[in-house]
Every structure is written in structure tokens, then in C-alpha cells.
Symmetry: C2
């Protein structure tokens, strides 16, 4: 195989049959500059991550997060032409979101392309000129039927109104899928390191992913191969930007074991469905609601690490007690948490949010990050005691002692020792 | 920044403060060979994806799939030492799975490290010698409470037995998290291309991820930055390998919008909870059950593409009809589906499965792949009509016409034109 360690992507739209370019240098004459945070789209410039027309690329990485690996498999299998260009007919957002002033500050949003949903309007001239620009955000409408909401109707806590909550029990939502688009100088600034350090560590600590991170300092935007987020909006999306309309909000990090399968070791699904109920109720009384769901399984440690920690917790001497909750994660993973709420407020700013009246979360990390980013937070809504599974007391008490919001008493060190979960062999 | 485009990982345990190696060449003297499919672990050799002790590495990529990017952020932020080594005390599997004969054939399992859960036994000597070997599989126990199962109890379809299904409504499961570990020659063979083609396309079509894919043909194992899978086992895990014990099984591909939020445009969650119910019932009558859940959101196209397709379907001329169901996906994505069930049976072989008595899936792609891999499939269990949401008729009818299993009549072309879903503005 002929290998030419010169340039990826090539400066010209070279054929794919020839040499492989292992990394590229700053010579992509045909590509458009990205002026992150510029107020006018034509000045900001489109994010172009196509692999089909490489001369146009102005980012590191490509679209669809980790699913780019499956796309590559489709090409390898001969099922997909590498030159396929998406037909975007009829795919435009069902609801218009923004532009908002928050979009025009290079430091307010650093992990989302604010123009990612409205490329057809924002970059119409560039699209007409043949640039392969793809949406990084998609907005649609849906009806969602959650069993816990049906239960809330049965018990009389919610009443269908035919608008927000239908007689069938389904809630009417606008939902938004968002791919990560990282502006590397802004990401570095959030984490308190230099951009050079960030690029080097991203390259080295992933086992050598994307050498362009270090060879192409001129490419400031990175489409990382990670999961994105989904936003569920209850009520009118434009109301999110109006601080006079009461906003109920939850920012939820993925927990497949609870969110889908209902594991009783944590409060994830019960808190999520409680937030949906609060959002519906708030919207019915003239407000608006939002749930932002981030793909950060197991505190962004992944599920293998999560299950290893479960075993270490359940088997340690003295059993699974709240006072050892964080210690066990740290032993296995090296940190208590890798979710880094530093990037999380971006989605709220993208939605134009300036005030959250009712924040359905007890996390001090989420709260501090949101307030620190300039969004006002009113009431903090804790999970009702009745929704906490017995085995999840260990987690919730450990978190309250570590700074989670609670309207009740904070457990002390002695109390934490007494809060004990189920053993691995208990029923 | 000093850049030395010579070697990643370095052949020696070089410090991280010096030059950056952009790619590496076949000179890692210190690393162990992997003989994929070898029957004896010491001959097979451990999979070593550590970034902390690079001289030991014998794979491309690193652990935790896409969460390696978050790990890198933790290092960049100064929260995690790059030399942190996991303390694996008490993390061993709660249940022993294998080894099975299927583990010892290099072509039967190509996307999972079969020894990934039992590294402590399989590679005890290597661990003692200081190699930084990490589990790629974790096995734990859990109690799962699914609202639809509580409903099945209320309606008398299920009765708690105190063993598989507790009086609380919780089911007792063994659950397994699995990271992808790809043996590239075997992956290429599954997709009918050469290994050289596969490596090149994986590199180029991801926008230049991991140059080692093309520069290091000696490294045959790749830890891709994608989501893995989770296995839920009902009953005794060792029974899975016994073809005389009735096995109820579902292989489910992630659909966050339905699995978590209950969107009515597809049958994903209803089919999943029906499978859980069937697994519980089957286990109560002396059988065993398994649900394998794969992180392949939106047919592995990702959620942004999925929502774009929803809009195109709902807005097309004539509305969202079943006869246009696949066409709309293909227009946007270039293919109807990117899930590639070719790799899916690996997890079943890892569990030792030789016969599935009751397969809770209508997918012909899944069925063909499983049967083609040598596993016998008995009855195919369709989703009960009463569980199909009204708006999901479009999808299920289109799929039945395209080859999905159904015990009833298959809709013809005329019928498909008449099956129509809700519009974007309908209630």
C-alpha cells in the first residue's frame, strides 16, 4: 500500500484511489475559515465536516459523532458510496430556535454549532456554491408516552388538556438532536488549560486519535466521536428565551441501566420522569419546560467502569455504605466523575435561556455550572422521597453530604456509615 | 511545540513531556502479541490499550469506547493523573461466563474480547509482571423495575415468584457491559472486503482517525471509539450455553427516543418491554432469558440523521406513508440502515448460546445473521398488535413488506400506500 504522510485532507479534491494522507498541513486553499462567535453567518462561516469532498473541510473529525465509524463500515462493505451527498429536502427544523445574542459570543457556546440547525437559511449562498454543509442539529416534533406519566394521570396528579398532554396520555413535544461541535480554544479556556495542552492530551490520551489535533493548529473546530444530546421541549420553544415565562428544566445525564431498564441502584429514571411530570404541569399553567439529555453514560466513564464500581461497592468490607460511595469510583476510575458540567450550559444558551425558574436537579455541579455561566436559577426541585428506590439511598445520601441540594437535613459522617445498600447475593 | 512524526506509541515508556509521536511503526519491542482465537489465554495474550504505559500497548485506540475522549478531558483539566492505574479490587464478575468452545475460533467472535471479563484469572501472570491490563467486560447483578412489568403483574399476566420476579415487581438479573474490541482481519472478512481496504476506509471516512490503522498492519486489534452493548440475563447465565434449557432472547438496538422517552413513531420500547416480560415468564418456567442491548442509535446513523428523516417522512407529498418509509432514510443517509447485524451474533457466541428457542424479534436481518452464524432459532415471537402505537404502523408495515417476520398477512404495495402516519402539525 502506498503511503504518503503528507496531507489529510488533501488541499484539492483528490481521488480516493491514490495515496493515503496521514495528516495534513495548513494549506487547504479551498476551505472556508470559521470565525467562531461571529454574529453574521456569512462571516462566521459554515462547519464543513464532509469526507466526500475533502478540499472543502475546515474541521478535524467528521459528522455523526461515534457513528462515523459505522458510516465507514458501510463504505467498506460497499453499501454506501463515499460520494453520497445527503438529500436534505423537507428536513428543516419544525420550529425555529434563535438566533439569540448568546450565539454571537465566542465564549458563551463552545461545544455546539449554534447555526447547526438552520444551515439552509444561514448558509444558502455557500450551499448554492456546492459546499457540502450538513446540519449538526435536527429539530422535530413528537408524541411521547411515558408509563409514569400515565400513572400520574391515573392518580389525578396530571390532567390531560388536549394541548400539552393528550387524552391518550401522550405529551406533545418539540425535540432536538445535537451533535458535538467543539471550538478548541473555547474548550481549553473552560478547562483552564492552554489550547496546545488540550490538543496534545486529546491526541495522546485517546491512543493517538486525530493527529491533526497537533499538526493543524489552524483548524480550530473539532467534531469529536462521542455521543451528543437530545432536548425535549414542552410548550412553545420561543418561550424558553423569555425570562418572564416560568421555565421548568432538567439537565439529565444518560444512565441506560436506570433510564431504560429501571435498575434500583440509582435515582436516574425516577428523577427524569418526575422532571417530565413537572415540565408538563408547568407548561399547562402557562410556562414552558425543557429536559436536556446528554450521552454521558456512567458519569462519562462508560458502562464497563460503572459495573466494575458497582461490584467494588457491594463487595467492600462493611458492605455498600454511603461513606465509601465516592471512594470506590475514584479507586477504579481515578476520578469521582468525568462528566464535566463545564460544557453543559452551552445547550441552555443555545436555546436562549436566561432564567430557570424551577430547576429539577439536586446536583451542585450542574447548578454551579449553570449559574456560573450567567443563567439565573430560582427554585431547586428535589426528587420526592417516595421515588427514591431503597438501594439508591447510598448514592443520594452520599451526594447530599457532598453538596447536593436538599431541603432536608444533610447526613453527617456517622449517618453515612449507617446507610447501606443491598449485597450482591441479597434478594 | 516539538513534533516528531515517528512513533505512537513509543517503543519505550517515554515520558509524556517530550516530543509528540504522530504515528508509530512496527517496533514495539516490549508489547505482547495477540493470537486472536487461541484456546489458551497465555497464548492468546492480553489486550493492552493503556495510555499510561505506552510501551505495553498492542492495539490501536484505547479503552472505554468514545468515553476515552472524556478521560482525555479529565487529564487536560488536571483532574486525572495520566499515570492513574485502576484499582480492580473486588471488581471481578459476579457470575462466571465461559470459557466456551466458541471463544477459540478466530472467526466466530471478532468484535468482543471473550477473555475481557476474566482478565484476573486468564492473565494473572501478565498482571503480576506489571502489565496494565484492563477488563473490557464487566459482570454484575441488579434488580430492575420496569413499569410495564409492574403493569403485567397488576393485570395478572405475570406472578412474582420471589426468585426471578420479586413481590416488589423488580426482576433479578445478571447484567454485563461489553466494550467493542475489533479483530480487524475478522471484521474485514465479515464485511467481505480485504483488511487493507477496511483499514483504509476506517481511517479516511472518519476524517483521519487513527493513522495506525494504515501504518501498523501488525496491530490487528482496534478498540473503536463507539458505544458497546449491555446484556441482561434472566435466570442462570450458565444455562444460556445449554441447548436443552429453553432460551428466550431479544437483540435490541438502542432507540433513545422510544426506549427512554416513549415516542410513538416506532415500536422499540414496547417490543423491548414485551421481550423482558417473555424472558421473565420463560425463566419462571425453568428456562433462561437474555436481552442484548446495542448502542446503535437510529440504525447506527445517529439521532441527528434520524430526526432529519422523521421530518422528511412527515412532510413529503402524500404524507408519511409506509411505501416511502425506506426511501426517505436512503435519501438522507445513503443507506436504509447502518446497523450491520454481521457483528451482532458475537455476543451470543460469547455467552455460549447454540440455540434460541424463542426469538423475540421480527427482524429478518437479525434472524439471518444469527442463523447464518450457526445458532439455531426456533419460534419467532412478534410484537402483539395491541402494543404497536398508532403512528408506528408506518414503520412496522413497511418492515413486514420488506421481509420482517409476521405470522399474519404481508401488506402489498397498494396496502403500504394507504398506511399513513400523523403529520407534523396533527394532534
Amino acid at each position: 500500500m502506498a503511503i504518503d504522510a503528507s496531507a489529510f485532507p488533501p488541499a484539492t479534491g483528490a481521488s480516493h484511489g491514490g495515496h493515503i494522507r496521514l495528516t495534513s498541513h495548513a494549506s487547504s486553499a479551498g476551505s472556508r475559515e470559521i470565525n467562531w462567535g461571529a454574529a453574521v453567518p456569512s462571516h462566521r462561516g459554515p462547519v464543513i465536516g464532509t469526507t466526500g469532498m475533502r478540499a472543502q473541510r475546515n474541521v478535524i473529525g467528521t459528522h455523526s459523532g461515534s457513528y462515523s465509524v459505522y458510516r465507514a463500515l458501510a463504505v467498506a462493505a460497499g453499501a454506501l458510496s463515499r460520494e453520497h451527498r445527503a438529500d436534505l429536502t423537507n428536513t428543516a427544523p419544525t420550529d425555529s430556535i434563535g438566533p439569540y445574542p448568546q450565539w454571537c459570543d465566542p465564549s458563551t457556546i463552545v461545544s455546539i454549532d449554534p447555526w447547526g440547525a438552520m444551515i439552509a437559511e444561514a448558509f444558502s449562498a455557500e450551499l448554492a456554491s456546492g459546499l457540502d454543509i450538513r446540519p449538526t442539529i435536527a429539530v422535530t416534533k413528537a408524541h411521547v408516552s411515558v408509563p409514569e406519566i400515565a400513572e400520574a394521570i391515573t392518580r389525578g396528579r396530571l390532567v390531560p388538556d388536549g394541548r400539552v398532554l393528550l387524552p391518550s396520555g401522550a405529551a406533545v413535544v418539540t425535540k432536538v438532536a445535537i451533535e458535538p461541535v467543539w471550538f478548541l480554544p473555547g474548550i481549553a479556556s473552560r478547562f483552564g488549560c492552554t489550547e496546545t495542552e488540550l490538543r496534545r492530551v486529546l491526541f495522546e490520551e485517546t491512543g493517538g486519535m486525530f493527529p491533526e489535533l497537533v499538526t493543524r493548529p489552524d483548524l480550530e473546530v473539532f467534531l469529536p466521536p462521542i455521543g451528543g444530546q437530545t432536548v425535549y421541549i414542552f410548550g412553545n420553544p420561543t418561550d424558553l428565551a423569555n425570562p418572564d415565562v416560568e421555565l421548568t428544566a432538567r439537565v439529565h445525564d444518560e444512565c441506560n441501566g436506570s433510564d431504560v431498564f429501571g435498575s434500583d441502584i440509582c435515582t436516574c429514571r425516577p428523577y427524569l420522569t418526575h422532571a417530565i411530570e413537572e415540565c408538563i404541569r408547568g407548561t399547562q399553567s402557562g410556562g414552558v419546560g425543557v429536559v436536556a439529555y446528554s450521552r454521558k453514560e456512567g458519569r462519562a466513564l462508560g458502562e464497563v467502569t460503572k459495573f466494575l464500581v458497582y461490584n467494588a461497592r457491594k463487595r467492600q468490607e462493611g458492605g455498600d455504605t454511603a461513606d465509601q460511595y465516592f471512594a470506590r469510583t475514584e479507586c477504579v476510575a481515578g476520578v469521582q466523575d468525568m462528566r464535566f458540567q463545564e460544557l453543559m450550559p452551552d445547550v441552555l444558551h443555545w436555546l436562549g435561556i436566561r432564567k430557570i425558574h424551577r430547576f429539577v436537579s439536586m446536583s451542585n455541579m450542574k447548578y454551579d455550572s449553570i449559574v456560573g455561566s450567567g443563567i439565573e436559577v430560582g427554585e431547586r426541585v428535589n426528587i420526592p422521597e417516595s421515588l427514591i428506590p431503597l438501594d439508591a439511598r447510598v448514592e443520594i445520601d452520599a451526594k447530599m453530604a457532598a453538596g447536593y441540594f436538599t431541603p432536608g437535613p444533610v447526613p453527617d459522617a456517622e449517618a453515612l456509615k449507617r446507610v447501606k445498600g443491598r449485597g450482591l447475593t441479597d434478594d
